[in-house]
């Protein structure tokens, strides 16, 4: 199916504009993805992100819009163009994989190989399965496969036809935490190998940040912010986006303070300082890995800014992908100001070699520290701690609309 005529680089990209009335939201998006690039659509369920994939694949005809890919027009409602899905060549990785239950792994992969001579289909399918490390499972039926194995078979099936666009719908959500890391690397490899545009749908910002070159936050059918994952994480446009990107979001009332800082009186008690400007009702965001936890001694409970030092345990200073944003550039003097809130531990969750610590400090917040640190601090549910972070890591964002979900 690959075009015989050499095409211009831009021509191999994907371009979508679509309006479509869904049950409770009106989808209205416009996006472009270059060959080799991956655009992640991040949003809560019901935001319409899967609908975009369905429109690109031809499984749904938008009310209005144009879809162009690989130099062809797949949809142009005003001209009555609607290429059926079977003629589009999309590598679609479905949520829960959607492997055909009545076919063995290799037959699942070979299902789309109608253009390949019958004799070669099995070999090609098995070669592809082998590339994903599941060649030995060629004759197994999907119900005999683990989640990770299904994921690989589904990947093999999606790419074996050399599709002209990759559509990935929550590809990692069906996997357990241990499988996820490996699957993420495999997906990244696939995206790198296939020099085609890719659209990734996920509700997990970290997943998007790991796999995509560009992230678009989608809410209620509209793209509300788009850019590099790091840029979005560093300066989320709204509280909703901050929350989407995994940051802790607290609400309060802002007013200008000394040294060009902003003072925020939190709803439910406590005071924070931020290097960002703001006034009136605001939302404040901070990433869990910016927060450090300190043991409480007699005098350490004051809820004011400027508490320095103490037997602190530094959180992760930045994720492998996100966190190194421009958040640190808030000004040399003010940047040293720190926030500290007295809090109570409400939950402890292991995430890899790190621990997510749920806290209650008037409002709920989450810190992410090393497992080692948890031991040293003797953290347990119900224990009092002090949560601290820099004023420069404290984003003041418009309270806006926290969005659905």
């Amino acid at each position: 199916m690959t075009g015989a005529t050499p095409v211009d680089q831009d021509d191999r990209g994907l371009s979508v504009t679509a309006r479509h009335r869904l049950r409770d939201v009106a989808l209205d998006v416009a996006l472009d993805v270059a060959p080799g690039a991956c655009l992640a659509l991040v949003g809560p369920s019901g935001a319409g992100k899967s609908t975009v994939l369905r429109i690109v694949a031809g499984l749904l005809r938008p009310d209005e819009g144009v879809v162009r890919c690989a130099g062809e027009t797949w949809v142009a409602r005003d001209r009555g163009v609607a290429v059926p899905p079977e003629a589009r060549s999309c590598g679609y990785l479905f949520q829960d994989h959607a492997l055909f239950p009545h076919l063995s792994a290799w037959r699942n992969v070979a299902y789309g190989l109608r253009d390949v001579p019958r004799r070669e289909r099995r070999d090609l399918a098995i070669t592809t399965l082998e590339r994903f490390g599941v060649g030995r499972l060629a004759d197994a039926h999907p119900d005999r496969l683990s989640g990770g194995e299904r994921q690989r078979v589904a990947l093999a099936r999606a790419v074996v036809r050399r599709p002209r666009v990759l559509l990935l719908d929550e590809p990692l959500s069906a996997l357990d935490a241990t499988t996820r890391g490996r699957a993420t690397r495999e997906l990244a490899d696939v995206l790198r190998e296939h020099d085609v545009p890719a659209l990734l749908v996920t509700h997990d910002f970290v997943e998007a940040a790991t796999l995509a070159t560009t992230v678009a936050i989608i809410d209620r059918g509209r793209i509300v912010q788009r850019g590099a994952a790091t840029a979005i994480a560093a300066s989320p446009a709204t509280a909703f986006i901050a929350e989407m990107s995994g940051a802790v979001v607290l609400t309060g009332t802002a007013a200008p303070a000394d040294h060009g800082l902003t003072r925020i009186d939190l709803d439910g008690g406590g005071v924070l300082l931020s290097t960002d400007a703001g006034r009136g009702p605001v939302a404040v965001s901070v990433h869990p890995w910016e927060i450090t936890l300190h043991a409480v001694d007699g005098s350490g409970g004051g809820g004011v800014a400027g508490v320095e030092g103490g037997p602190g345990v530094e959180g992760r200073s930045g994720g492998s992908v996100v966190g190194d944003g421009p958040g640190g550039g808030g000004g040399p003097a003010a940047g040293s100001a720190r926030n500290a809130l007295p809090a109570t531990v409400t939950s402890l969750t292991t995430v890899g070699n790190r621990m997510r610590v749920g806290l209650l400090a008037g409002q709920p917040l989450t810190a992410e520290v090393t497992v080692d640190a948890v031991g040293r601090l003797g953290l347990a549910v119900g224990a009092p701690v002090t949560a601290a972070w820099k004023a420069s890591a404290t984003r003041v964002v418009s309270a806006g609309d926290p969005g659905v979900d």
Binding site: R54, A57, G58, L59, P84, P85, E86, A87, R88, S89, C90, G91, Y92, F94, Q95, D96, A98, L99, F100, P101, H102, Y111, G112, R114, D115, R157, R161, L167
Partner: protein
């Protein structure tokens, strides 16, 4: 409290067991009686009787043709009912299911009124020389009428249970709607389709009233096994028992086959 609760629980379980025992006893007793009362010799004699053989053969031929028609027409119809939402859909479903609750006599009268020599459709059919009354085609017509709803219901339920995403996946993998239906929907719904076919076939094999009224009873042309049993009932009870035993065995064999075949199915059939 716990003693009372335990006692109540035990009583409840006992009641369930009693209910099942009554059900099983009541439903199996007539079947057992057929075999108990017909000696193997009589059974064989019944089978050796040429008119019984004719009736059995006619039954098998007519039910097979009816089943084939039901599958060929009913499968796409059930698919449409299962996958498309359209105005009047529930009315259509009710109409299709109506013969399920129709007494065979009503079915016979209805068939005559529609396809009989004086019927709405029957009159023009007769002018074309295609009048089905008192012909083997008439038997098939009656069988299709009474048995098709069993298949349609089951097939519709089986198709409704097919995950949409499998169909979507097939489409994105280059298969058109027809190919998707043939290669994914039907194989996945296989269990339910086979169950429905078995139910329809069983119903057709046992059909009596509508056949008699619409197609009459004539050896080798329209006298199916149930009609032959009925004819023997008065004068040759042993012969009737023998033929009944054969029919019961056939039906049991079909049900058993369906259970075995259906075990490997992905989407199981909904019984009833």
């Amino acid at each position: 409290m716990s003693a009372g609760a335990t006692a109540r629980r035990a009583a409840f379980v006992a009641a369930l067991v009693v209910a099942l025992t009554v059900v099983v006893a009541f439903l199996t007793f007539p079947v057992v009686a057929i075999f108990v009362r017909s000696s193997p010799g009589a059974l064989l004699d019944g089978l050796r009787d040429p008119s019984a053989q004719d009736a059995l053969r006619l039954s098998l031929v007519c039910t097979s043709i009816a089943a084939a028609i039901i599958v060929v027409v009913g499968t796409p119809a059930a698919w449409l009912l299962a996958t498309r939402r359209f105005r009047g859909r529930s009315v259509v479903i009710t109409l299709v299911e109506l013969p399920l609750v129709m007494p065979p006599a009503v079915a016979g009268i209805g068939l005559l009124a529609a396809f009989g020599p004086q019927g709405i459709v029957g009159r023009p059919l007769g002018d074309l020389g295609l009048q089905p009354v008192l012909t083997t085609a008439g038997v098939v017509t009656a069988l299709v009428f009474v048995a098709a709803p069993f298949y349609l219901r089951q097939a519709q339920a089986a198709f409704e249970a097919v995950d949409r995403r499998w169909l979507d996946a097939s489409r994105t993998l280059g298969a058109g709607e027809l190919r998707t239906w043939l290669r994914v929907a039907i194989p996945v719904a296989r269990g339910g389709l086979i169950t429905g076919l078995a139910l329809a076939w069983g119903r057709a094999l046992g059909e009596f009233g509508a056949t008699l009224m619409f197609a009459g009873s004539f050896r080798d042309i329209t006298q199916t096994a149930p009609l032959a049993i009925y004819e023997r009932f008065a004068t040759d009870f042993d012969g009737a028992l023998g033929l009944s035993a054969v029919l019961v065995s056939l039906s049991a064999a079909v049900l058993l086959t369906v259970r075995i075949v259906g075990r490997g199915a992905v989407v199981g059939g909904v019984r009833g």
